[in-house]
């Protein structure tokens, strides 16, 4: 039975009357890797700041190890933070940045010795591959190096909980993947609880034990990466995690859903008879067959070569689906499709119904647009400012 370490209970946050977190209920277990995932502005940083003690929630309680810590100031909380914009001390070199927390630390009522601090710092710099950078001015480091200093600076204190606010945001793809593995390894070997913030769903699925999907200050779903991917609760989650075709459907009975006037077998049950629902069909769960064998017939309108597979857009009576396939069917050709019962996932209607899951506006650049590092708060210019 995992032990609960942190609990947010009915936490709400409003700035000047504008609600940015709405009644958050969340518990985080000891040694867990939990990720807050959501688009920009959904309240991820605000949630972390409440846990770290930098922001006082407008209402609700925060518990640490069963103790209410609403009034405990940040320096007395057993958490450390990797800030979204690094927040490195520009007047100190790399070594002193990392040593900052150690110099304030008391173990058994005593300060750490110089040599103890030096060895812990160098060990930590080794872990983040920054050995030899001790004397460097932090302003002279690249964005990725600064980020790794920030990680080392927090981790060296061996906190119970590490809060990481998009710690890999400034890294290139390659380094990002390496650091993901590295962070995951560190988390597993140290047993430190990680509360990780990202808006990159792939990163969230790859690293986490638990994913918390947020939108508009509300938790949309909490679950394991598999749960979140296979059993999204609503159209927002289905669309945000991976690619999804989301269509209107009608539950005839347990295991039977009608889409585009045809009945399909599915595994979902427990809906009211004839209840209107959202149906999620992942692009990789659609099989292409001959028109005569197909459950539905559509016309191919667009093809994008993606290396291993083709992304094709298929028009079914004006509603466009994204399908991933290895077989090439030329644009304009008619194809039939088949979907296995376990390829269909049924969701209750929600405020997000009809907003997501249509590929009518699909273009080849679609992916690029949705995957760019969307940072409206100008962290790029921030990084540039550090260089000067």
């Amino acid at each position: 039975m995992p032990k609960e370490l942190i609990r947010l209970s009915d936490c709400s946050m409003a700035f000047d009357g504008e609600v940015v977190l709405n009644n958050l209920n969340l518990y985080i277990n000891d040694k867990e890797f939990l990720t807050l995932l959501g688009p920009s502005g959904c309240g991820k940083t605000t949630t972390l700041r409440i846990i770290g003690g930098f922001q006082r929630q407008t209402s609700g309680d925060v518990f640490f190890d069963g103790v209410r810590i609403n009034d405990v100031p940040p320096h007395k909380r057993m958490v450390n933070t990797v800030f979204q914009k690094y927040a490195l001390f520009t007047h100190l070199n790399v070594f002193e940045n990392v040593a900052f927390g150690l110099r304030l630390k008391r173990e058994d009522g005593k300060k750490l010795t110089k040599s103890d601090i030096a060895s812990r710092v160098s060990e930590m710099l080794d872990i983040v591959s920054l050995s030899g950078f001790e004397k460097r001015d932090v302003a002279s480091l690249s964005g990725g190096q600064q980020q790794r200093v920030a990680i080392a600076r927090a981790l060296v204190n061996q906190p119970k909980v590490l809060l990481l606010d998009e710690p890999l945001g400034a890294l290139d793809m390659r380094l990002r993947k390496d650091m993901q593995n590295e962070l995951k390894r560190i988390q597993q070997t140290t047993g430190i609880t990680f509360v990780y913030v990202t808006h990159d769903q792939e990163e969230a699925l790859a690293m986490s034990d638990t994913v918390v999907v947020m939108e508009k200050g509300v938790i949309q779903q909490i679950g394991t990466p598999e749960d979140i991917y296979n059993e999204p609760k609503n159209a927002f989650v289905a669309d945000f995690i991976g690619e999804s075709n989301i269509v209107d459907g009608c539950m005839h009975s347990d295991g039977v859903v009608e889409i585009f006037g045809r009945k399909f077998a599915c595994l979902d049950k427990g809906f009211a008879p004839m209840e209107h629902v959202d149906v999620v069909i992942r692009p990789e769960d659609v099989d292409i067959v001959d028109v005569k064998d197909g459950m539905l017939t559509g016309t191919v309108t667009n093809i994008t070569f993606k290396g291993m597979l083709y992304d094709i857009i298929v028009d079914f009576k004006g509603f466009k689906w994204l399908i991933q396939t290895t077989d090439l069917s030329p644009v304009g050709s008619k194809i039939g499709i088949k979907i296995d019962p376990d390829g269909i996932h049924i969701m209750k209607k929600s405020e997000f119904s009809g907003v997501f899951g249509d590929y009518s506006s699909y273009s080849a650049e679609y992916d690029d647009i949705s995957d760019v590092e969307y940072e409206p708060d100008g962290s790029d210019s921030e990084a540039a400012a550090y260089e000067t």
Binding site: G52, F54, P73, P74, H75, V79, N80, T81, F83, K85, A87, L88, F89, T90, H91, F100, G101, L104, K105, D137, A139, R153, A154, N157, T388
Partner: protein, 270 residues
């Protein structure tokens, strides 16, 4: 290239108003009245050693007092609400918009033996203070006149410190006092440094304050130079030599200070 032409007025201005006077001072300092080269002017300076010592001592005291008063003011100010900050900054600058002489005259009437201060002391039954025409009065005058030049640079540097650094320090376990001593203070040093320059340099060369509040009893370098150029002692050659030596000492002083302070907060843009 076009941009070059735009610099011509500045170069001209600098040549006429900055370089020319310095050249003149050099020429005067190394010549006699009849135009022969000499070092005698500098030899005479030895006789004014006490004026040099006094000037630097009083300017230093005034600078230190300005730091002691100005730093907390700037720090507390930076924590206020934006609206209040703007108001207070304006109040700090307000006296600067008034004539320097007038402001100093006002202090005369406050510090005089029969001035406001002593009348107040008499009123509450305390003994009278003899301040006017002493070094104390001169230092008060310096602090009063130059304090804004200490507060404002410190304030603007503190305001530029990224607030997330303070959060990071607290996150790493620093109680509020350590946040100040380990982050805010070192990062604000460049402001202190430029404040020191802006107070010390005018203080060391002032003559209005000494004449009005020191009543001729306190003679500093500014007075000495003024006397050599305009006063009874008329000798611009010695005056120039004094000015040169003072300039030299001030430059060395500033250089050492910048070197010493530069190691700390050099990344803060100033």
């Amino acid at each position: 290239m076009k941009p070059k032409h735009f610099t011509i007025p500045y170069i001209g201005w600098m040549a006429v108003f900055v370089v020319a006077p310095i050249v003149l001072i050099f020429v005067y300092a190394f010549t006699t009245a009849s135009g022969e080269l000499t070092l005698a002017n500098f030899a005479r300076i030895a006789g004014f050693a006490s004026v040099f010592v006094n000037s630097f001592r009083l300017a230093l005291i005034a600078t230190l007092i300005c730091i002691i008063i100005g730093y907390p003011v700037a720090y507390i100010l930076s924590k206020e609400k934006m609206r209040i900050q703007r108001l207070i900054v304006m109040l700090i600058m307000l006296p600067l918009w008034m004539n320097f002489l007038l402001r100093t005259y006002a202090w005369m009437s406050i510090l005089e033996n029969t001035g406001l201060l002593n009348r107040f002391l008499a009123f509450v039954g305390l003994p009278m203070l003899r301040i006017i025409n002493t070094q104390v009065a001169v230092v008060i005058g310096m602090v009063y006149n130059f304090l804004p030049f200490m507060i404002l640079p410190i304030y603007s540097v503190i305001m530029k410190i990224d607030k997330s650094l303070l959060e990071a320090a607290r996150d790493l376990g620093a109680p509020p006092l350590s946040v100040f001593s380990k982050v805010v203070f070192p990062l604000s040093l460049p402001g202190v440094l430029s404040g020191m320059t802006m107070v010390f340099v005018p203080a060391v060369s002032t003559f209005v304050i000494t004449q009005l509040l020191g009543g001729g009893m306190v003679i500093l370098l500014g007075d000495l130079i003024e006397m050599q150029f305009l006063g009874a002692a008329f000798n611009p050659h010695v005056g120039s030599a004094v000015a040169l030596v003072m300039m030299f000492i001030v430059i060395v002083f500033m250089y050492v200070m910048n070197k010493f302070g530069g190691g700390e907060g050099r990344t803060v843009g100033l």
